[in-house]
Symmetry: C2
Subunit: 243 residues, 2 copies
């Protein structure tokens, strides 16, 4: 039950990935972990054993894994680093939102506590990163804003974009082109059957997006009689500058 395990970059990346899978799918299997991390399943098994030995996950062979509270804490620290760094790079250095994930992926492991706190202060203790993901606080508290997939809306429904997947930078560039970023208002006009494209309206513009893409976009549903749901004006000023 030792509190201070020395955690290296590999361990941090595993824990972060485990956290994300657990967050999205509930349970974490060896194969899912291996797939996300682009390693062979046997490599994942090896590392899982190590994480279990370090009390960072609980592991029952063949039954999957779960973060311990300590493992969760470490994961949230890394996530905090990642998201603060992303936002800092956008806000302070004018990087594009499709560049910062890759950069943060490395920086998150090497930045000191002291530097991360300075960045947090500089940004005014922000709540979300440039892609809408919540930033855990210094003590490991996060408010997970669930939201629904845009793909799950019915035609006629409206939502405010809350978060988009940040891993695919080509996709992010495309979304920016469409005007889709956190706080943008979207109305679903029409959904073609059989996995067809979805027709939506953003800022008055009608657009077609592939249904698979709509699964990477999370929105907060708005009541259908909302004023904004009719005319789709959109007051987002946050990220739109940096595209």
């Amino acid at each position: 039950m030792r509190e201070f395990v020395k955690v290296n970059e590999a361990i941090e990346d595993y824990l972060k990935t485990i956290y994300n899978i657990q967050d999205e799918h509930g349970k974490v299997s060896t194969t899912m972990l291996a797939k996300q991390m682009n390693i062979a399943p046997s490599s994942a098994t090896g590392m899982i054993k190590k994480l279990a030995r370090l009390n960072l996950v609980t592991y029952e062979p063949y039954r999957g894994i779960q973060l311990t509270s300590h493992g969760r804490k470490v994961a949230l620290e890394v996530l905090r680093h990642h998201r603060l760094i992303e936002l800092y790079l956008v806000e302070a250095l004018g990087m594009r939102w499709d560049e910062v994930h890759h950069e943060a992926e490395k920086l998150e492991h090497v930045i000191s506590k002291s530097l991360i706190e300075r960045i947090d202060s500089y940004l005014g203790h922000p709540a979300v990163d440039p892609h809408g993901a919540p930033i855990p606080d210094r003590h490991g508290k996060v408010e997970s804003t669930p939201g629904v997939k845009l793909a799950d809306l019915k035609s006629g429904q409206c939502g405010v974009v809350s978060e988009v997947n940040d891993r695919d930078s080509e996709m992010l560039r495309y979304l920016a082109e469409l005007g889709i970023f956190p706080n943008a208002r979207i109305k679903v006009l029409n959904i073609a059957p059989f996995q067809g494209p979805m027709s939506i309206s953003i800022e008055g513009e009608e657009r077609l997006i592939w249904i698979e893409l709509a699964k990477s976009i999370f929105v907060k549903l708005l009541p259908e009689n909302t004023e904004g749901c009719r005319d789709n004006q959109q007051k987002n000023k946050n990220v739109s500058d940096n595209l």
Copy 2:
């Protein structure tokens, strides 16, 4: 003679260290390298062979090593990263000059070309880092400002501090207390014999410093009849804010 070798963190640190030793002592021996890097001499031999295989150094067993032009280029890139990062952390995030070396030591290896250029622009393409070390430009050009060790001045001589060693953060805190940083004017009042302390005047204040410490401080010699050499006023505003 391939131009694009994949260079990892270990290699970068070796090349940087080799560059520094070469800069200071002319030639680079296995033992000196091992000592600087805190590794066993046999480990250095191993890595040297690898660097030679990659055409980053020339190596004749038992005779020491030398950077190739390609190795030198990589070393200067890392040094550029290191120094720009140090300055950025001081200027943009208000870190103290004794904190930034440690931080830069990690960041230098993981920051992208694109980010480093943004940092360089933000800072206005600066010439020196917070400790007075010259920053190589994007193409690997450096102006090595030689300067002399403060320890080598005779009593009565004056100089402007050009650079201080940045590795020992305790020393840097002490120097800041004394008012010694780049651009500070120093007059040597008296030198006690037999490695004794040196009495100097900084900003009108008289101070005693250990001769060993004076070997880590580089100055540009001023003619003895310089106006500033008499009254020691000092107009430095750069780094003095961040102590």
